[in-house]
């Protein structure tokens, strides 16, 4: 049976060119970049080159690039570090209801420490209204954190506009761009952001390595105290192979972005059209146009997401769901609830996230196996039974 990977928002396979670039830093060039001898200097050089490369690709200065262990650390550092550094100015943070848990749970933690957090609502497509950001700003607001693109429904936020508001009001603006970097063009200056989080494994790089962009002049307290690494702002021996891999992966992603996106948008829209025409009682979640090139998110009425995923898995298709049961928690996706879906519909979602290696043949296979799976689950569903009885009565 063929295996089809449709879960690229969760993680991606490493590009062989990335692996090749990393290997020497696991083996012969294994020195600690903080040491002074040759193999250490080679590591330091690789670190500097990677930093330069990433800075250039994001429109930043190399001194504004800080390496972390991934998106979660970057988000934690940005939010806690700014909250701590600007505590004398105020204690109010603005974020949105559909952020990743790395942001939401960090904000909840800060609330327990006496900070005040405003969770902005989103519209039915999952977009934050910049005017809502403006209205939420208070004298004691110290940070605005709005994600670049949503991990579940793929909606892209009006980041430039929100950044402009933040800049005019003199408030620090952070964006969690973990799902966006490597997938859509991003320039930190154009986006008006002060801090930006990204993670290597979302664009065919290694897991366990990320970046926090911190604009020059922004005060931030360290999250990890230790040695003088990362200009004293983030202790810990740098993950040189990971950093080299991240830089290479980002370089390749940006280099091939236009071509890959053209192909993925075509495939994405083909699948969206196919599902919409082959299955009834479905809803496409997320923005129809302001969405990531690789994101498809549907709600299938009367069924539950985990069952759908298990049956797709049996057909060799790996996808994801905002379903409660898939996450270890029992509540449905906070994102789907925030865009206004009732609980029972929020339980029945399917997320398909494409990669550049996915093909039309794979899409056709999905479109062939999905309708009978949905029907099978509906035939077993008391909600569908009740719906049909109601239809017959009418």
């Amino acid at each position: 049976m063929q295996k089809i990977y449709f879960d690229h928002a969760a993680t991606t396979a490493m590009n062989p060119q990335v692996v090749e670039a990393m290997v020497p830093y696991f083996t012969e060039n294994f020195g600690n970049p903080s040491s002074i001898y040759e193999i250490a200097r080679k590591n330091k050089q690789a670190l500097d080159e990677s930093r330069d490369k990433i800075a250039k690709l994001l429109g930043a200065d190399p001194k504004e690039i800080y390496f972390t262990s991934g998106g979660t650390e970057s988000d934690n550092w940005a939010i806690k570090g700014i909250a701590d550094a600007y505590r004398n100015k105020g204690n109010h943070i603005i974020t949105s209801a559909i952020e990743h848990h790395a942001v939401l749970h960090t904000c909840e933690y800060l609330e327990s420490k006496g900070y005040e957090v405003t969770y902005l609502p989103v519209n039915e497509f999952g977009q934050v209204d910049p005017q809502d950001v403006l209205k939420a700003i208070k004298d004691n607001t110290i940070l605005i954190s709005i994600m670049y693109a949503n991990n579940e429904i793929g909606t892209i936020q009006p980041i430039e506009e929100i950044g402009k508001i933040a800049r005019e009001k003199g408030i620090v603006f952070h964006t969690d761009a973990v799902q966006a970097v490597g997938h859509i063009p991003i320039d930190v200056k154009k986006a008006n952001v002060d801090l930006l989080s990204l993670s290597g494994h979302k664009f065919h790089g290694p897991k366990g390595v990320g970046v926090l962009y911190i604009r020059k002049g922004i005060k931030i307290k360290p999250l990890l105290h230790g040695g003088a690494q990362e200009r004293g702002r983030r202790g810990g021996t740098e993950n040189v192979p990971g950093i080299v891999g991240l830089a290479k992966a980002l370089e390749l992603a940006v280099e091939n972005m236009e071509e890959n996106n053209k192909k993925m948008i075509e495939l994405r829209d083909y699948i969206i059209k196919g599902i919409s025409s082959k299955i009834d009682h479905v809803k496409l979640n997320g923005h129809p146009t302001d969405r990531l090139p690789n994101n498809i998110n549907f709600t299938f009425d009367f069924i539950e997401g985990e069952s759908l995923l298990l049956l797709l898995d049996m057909k060799g298709i790996y996808a994801s769901s905002g379903s409660a049961c898939t996450s270890g928690s029992l509540d449905p996706s906070h994102v789907l609830l925030a865009i206004g879906l009732p609980h029972e519909r929020a339980h029945g979602s399917l997320r398909i996230t494409l990669g550049d290696e996915n093909t039309k043949e794979e899409a056709d296979y999905l479109l062939e196996v999905l309708p009978p799976i949905v029907q099978r689950l509906r035939d077993m569903s008391p909600l569908y039974e009740a719906y049909k009885k109601e239809q017959n009565l009418n």
């Binding site: 539950e304 298990l310 049961c325 029992l330 009732p342 609980h343």
Partner: protein, 146 residues
């Protein structure tokens, strides 16, 4: 995550469907929690002659419904009353802790169907309590099942 038996009952659920004019029918759960189970019973001379179910829910919800119907088929009402969520779980070779509530729901769906049968026939079944109206079953998991 799931045992082979859970996967088997999820992939090949036994007794899916409806019974026309059932002796008793019980529905538990709510869409908010993502699980609804409906069990139909056909009872003759105190024996559960036939049983069917419909379930909206995850793999464990389907599997526990299927197993619960298998366990009660052909049993007397008294025997059916002894089928607890633990028995359903054991028969499935266990469930992940976060899915234990599905087995609780299966037990409750069965008891709700028996309650309906008792109400329709004006009989009393020892140990049977009325179904909870709208219970948040996710938070109703006995601690010893954790």
């Amino acid at each position: 995550m799931y045992s082979e038996k859970v996967m088997d009952h999820f992939m090949n659920p036994r007794n899916v469907g409806e019974i026309e004019n059932p002796s008793g029918v019980g529905t538990v759960g709510n869409p908010k929690c993502g699980d609804i189970m409906k069990i139909y019973l056909d009872i003759e001379d105190n024996i559960i002659k036939d049983v069917k179910f419909k379930t909206f829910g995850c793999g464990a919800a389907v599997a526990t419904s299927s197993m619960a119907t298998e366990l009660v088929k052909g049993k007397t009402i008294e025997e059916a009353m002894k089928i607890t969520n633990k028995a359903v779980m054991e028969a499935l070779d266990g469930l992940p802790p976060v899915k234990v509530h599905c087995s609780v729901l299966a037990e409750e769906a069965l008891q709700a169907a028996l309650w309906d049968y008792a109400q329709k026939n004006g009989i009393e079944i020892e140990g049977l309590t009325p179904p909870k109206e709208d219970h948040d079953h996710h938070h109703d998991i006995p601690e010893d099942n954790e």
